[in-house]
Symmetry: C2
Subunit: 520 residues, 2 copies
């Protein structure tokens, strides 16, 4: 194991996060300075202190290991990816903790006083999950703008992955970068992304930046403040779902804002490799893409079922829990928004879908499991894997009565080989087992140590919502509730599930396998 | 498609079922004659009428299609297996229906007056599921002994499969028999069962008969009546679980009886191919069998967890709902009995496990999913498939950091080939999807048409308990409740799930595939 290199890169990661924090600190200060409320010096100080500490430690690590061998193996790459997220969340959560220490008076309470809560919130940010421990008595809107901006920005950073940024920006990785990218790119390696990693990655970030710019302006025009536009854009494009508002997107009544957000959530759930193809003017490739078609098809079917099931139900909005009488318009409005938000694993809410009919909730849970496209910022199992699995199952059934007919399974123009088949199904089965074990563990931890408010629906969907990077679940972790009330044990477990889900299990799970650590 | 042959075999099946009914009718009459209660002529008449009708129709079908080509293809074999169960349940359910028509006075009600209930009960018998629509106001014990014996005997018949009997008894099938056997033998074709089908099948039935004799005598010695010994033996060895008592095995307080039943449930969940090996004195093969070891290991771990979770809980018995104060002895007693009953998918109960702690229920649901060994009478996914799937998933994880190390996966001394890997995990994923779709459908049907008493726990476990041929689930289909209250739609669906599960999906599901029916 090339430890020097791994430490060197972690040092670099620290410096990068410090840079991001400086940016956010300055922007946050400007926003707070423009706003009528007094500037929250504690938050700025917390950011500054974190920056100093991180630069110091990160810089030292980086300097001391400079000039390490640049050639790394697959194991170093995996280790680096896994540790990056575990370590990055610790850095990203520090400002929350420091702010709470300085801001709360003696005898006062705040969730951020607990380091586990801060780590949970930071991991939920970097993994683009969007599960939060804020709410109830500790309003999101009560946080200073600089912290809210940092909270949203961690999701934007997580969006295409800090490690992809590493690959694009930093030339130090050399050949190792290819391996990192292979691990990092969510889902089975998308076609055409493999060669010319740096060039491709740069193009991808450019696309990400352009989309960011367009959405910020669109939201501003639709009536949001600049601050809210930025925060929501950061968390839409990363399909992450932290909102600076307690009522999430339900804070805004404007259908225009909701429509813009729906469009960008859909765009963010598309394989970014297709945008790369678009930028190369390969339009036919995009139109013929199987995953894109299935993705859009699933969104259509899902929204149709959810909308239909809502037509006769009153809808409780997240804003002040206003109850809207049943109408076709509101069924479409909230049905489409929620289904898109859940299927893309964003997790914004406008209505309390925990109160919706069973049919709607079943579709939403299924949508959480399936998630978005591979190579997008969305979580979930990924559409391409589900598609392959369904094709394999159908082929297996046909195999029973036609054992001698061997028809290659196709995905567009390419043939799915046995390795891909086995890999996809094994992944799905493995991650479902993980979801079940996660849900049962939360249930058991809460039964033994908790306050007794956790039912099975809550436990099961908290595991799914974290593992698949969705954010809100059902029951007591639903749209209008949060994760703060869970016991520390459950929160640690759910934090781990977020990392496992975001890195598609492997980069984290290998870290606990003895075989991984033994010399090759 | 060789229709003549298929019809010919269905005729034969009718004759066979008639023969079984004659046997049961005579035995039932003897039992009733010996008992102090008056003989129920309606039941004997119902059996007689069914026998006449079945012999007439079956005989005609058989005679008219005699001399049909004996060579059948895979499609004929599949069709025959699928239709056998769907048709056999109709025949087996007729006595219930006729009895109810003749026995109930005007204005009286009985569940068996509804043909769907009779078909449900009969399918639950032939598929060795054990889910019943009797109970509550319509006690099982109120049925005449001849019907109770028929009810138990359908499970014994279902045990190793009427179709295996076909293969063993009837020489008409020729080469087609091999195909039938391949479809019928539950689970991946067990080693050593393939050649010499008739001889092997005969040995298997002999083993089944010997086990039956031994258990009947053991139960009689332990204090059961002859009638109850027979009924319980029929439903233990088939891991099926119909009991002639409302309180199931909880009717008996005797630990000796429970111990005997536990032993025979465990024996019935073992691959019968191993008994065949034993009869050939190949002891080492049996001792080295991976599936046997995993099966026993899982039983040990499962009972340990369930027992531990019960130590501090009071236990409600199925007999008169007596509550037993927490004690180590009763935790072991009911923990072991219930776990073995559920893991082997028998479904007997001594205690209302619906009231047990979450940890125990989670283990029980997991045990339902896994089930017994391939080649046993137990249902579930089957241990061998689960074992292969776990090995594949572990290998896939190692593949991430060691892409070039190709180690063949072994099962004992044989290597698992790619087809078996893909087949196993595709089957697991497919049947889990089916279980989820089943649970959601039951939930939705009950919400739309039902009485509103169906919660998600009930819906989900009813689907699992039927698809995996267990019998009782949790919630309102738990140990002390039954399936009668469900709507007709749900009952039809659950009946279909039982057949799908027992025939491992394929023999039923191909019947609805257009491609299956197109000429080859």
């Amino acid at each position: 194991m090339n430890w020097r290199f791994v430490i060197n890169q972690l040092g670099l990661l620290s410096l990068l996060l410090s840079g991001a924090m400086i940016l956010v600190g300055v922007a946050g200060w400007l926003f707070e300075w423009r706003s009528p409320d007094p500037i929250d010096n504690d938050a700025l100080l917390a950011l500054a202190a974190t920056i100093c500490g991180t630069v110091l430690v990160g810089g030292l690590l980086w300097l001391r290991t400079r000039g390490s061998a640049k050639h790394i193996g697959r194991r170093e790459a995996l280790l680096l990816v896994g540790v990056s997220w575990l370590f990055g969340a610790a850095v990203a959560g520090t400002p929350y903790l420091l702010w709470a220490y300085w801001h709360t008076g003696p005898g006062e309470h705040h969730p951020f006083l607990d380091p586990v809560n801060c780590y949970f919130e930071a991991m939920s940010g970097l993994t683009t999950t969007g599960a939060t421990i804020l709410g109830d008595d500790y309003s999101i809107e009560a946080l200073p703008q600089s912290l809210l901006l940092w909270r949203a920005f961690t999701q934007w950073l997580g969006g295409l992955g800090i490690v992809v940024l590493f690959v694009a920006v930093l030339p130090t990785l050399g050949v190792g970068g290819k391996r990192l990218f292979r691990v990092e790119a969510p889902g089975p390696a998308p076609e055409g992304l493999r060669p010319h990693i740096r060039e491709t990655a740069t193009t991808l970030w450019l696309i990400y930046l352009i989309l960011t710019g367009v959405e910020v302006i669109a939201l501003k025009i639709a009536g949001m403040s600049w601050f809210d536009s930025f925060c929501h854009t950061f968390t839409t494009l990363s399909t992450a779902g932290f909102s600076p508002k307690d009522a999430s997107l339900g804070h805004y009544a404007s259908p225009a804002i909701h429509t813009i957000v729906i469009i960008f959530m859909v765009l963010a759930g598309v394989n970014f490799g297709l945008y790369y193809q678009l930028s190369r003017k390969r339009f036919r490739k995009v139109l013929q893409d199987t995953e894109l078609r299935v993705y859009l098809g699933l969104l259509l079917v899902g929204t149709a079922i959810v909308t239909l099931s809502l037509i006769n139900s009153p809808i409780t909005l997240t804003k002040d829990l206003t109850v809207v009488e049943p109408s076709v318009a509101s069924a479409i409005h909230h049905g489409v928004f929620t289904t898109v938000s859940i299927q893309t694993t964003t997790g914004y809410s406008t209505a309390d879908f925990n109160l919706w009919p069973f049919a709607a909730q079943a579709v939403l849970v299924m949508a959480m499991l399936v998630g978005g496209s591979a190579g997008s910022t969305a979580g979930g199992i990924k559409i391409i894997r589900v598609w392959i699995a369904l094709k394999v199952i159908l082929a297996e059934i046909e195999h029973v009565f036609r054992p001698h007919v061997v028809r290659p399974l196709r995905l567009g123009n390419s043939v799915i080989d046995d390795e891909m088949k086995l890999g996809s199904i094994a992944y799905i089965l493995g991650i479902l087992i993980l979801a079940v074990v996660g849900g049962w563990s939360v249930m058991m931890i809460e039964q033994w140590y908790g306050s007794g408010t956790c039912d099975f629906k809550t436990a099961a969907t908290s595991s799914i919502a974290c593992l698949f990077n969705v954010g809100p679940g059902l029951g007591h972790v639903g749209a209008i509730e949060n994760y703060e009330w869970l016991t520390t044990g459950s929160k640690v477990l759910l934090t781990l599930l977020m990392a496992l889900g975001r890195l598609e299990v492997f980069a984290i799970i290998v870290l606990v396998m003895p075989r991984f650590w033994r010399a090759d």
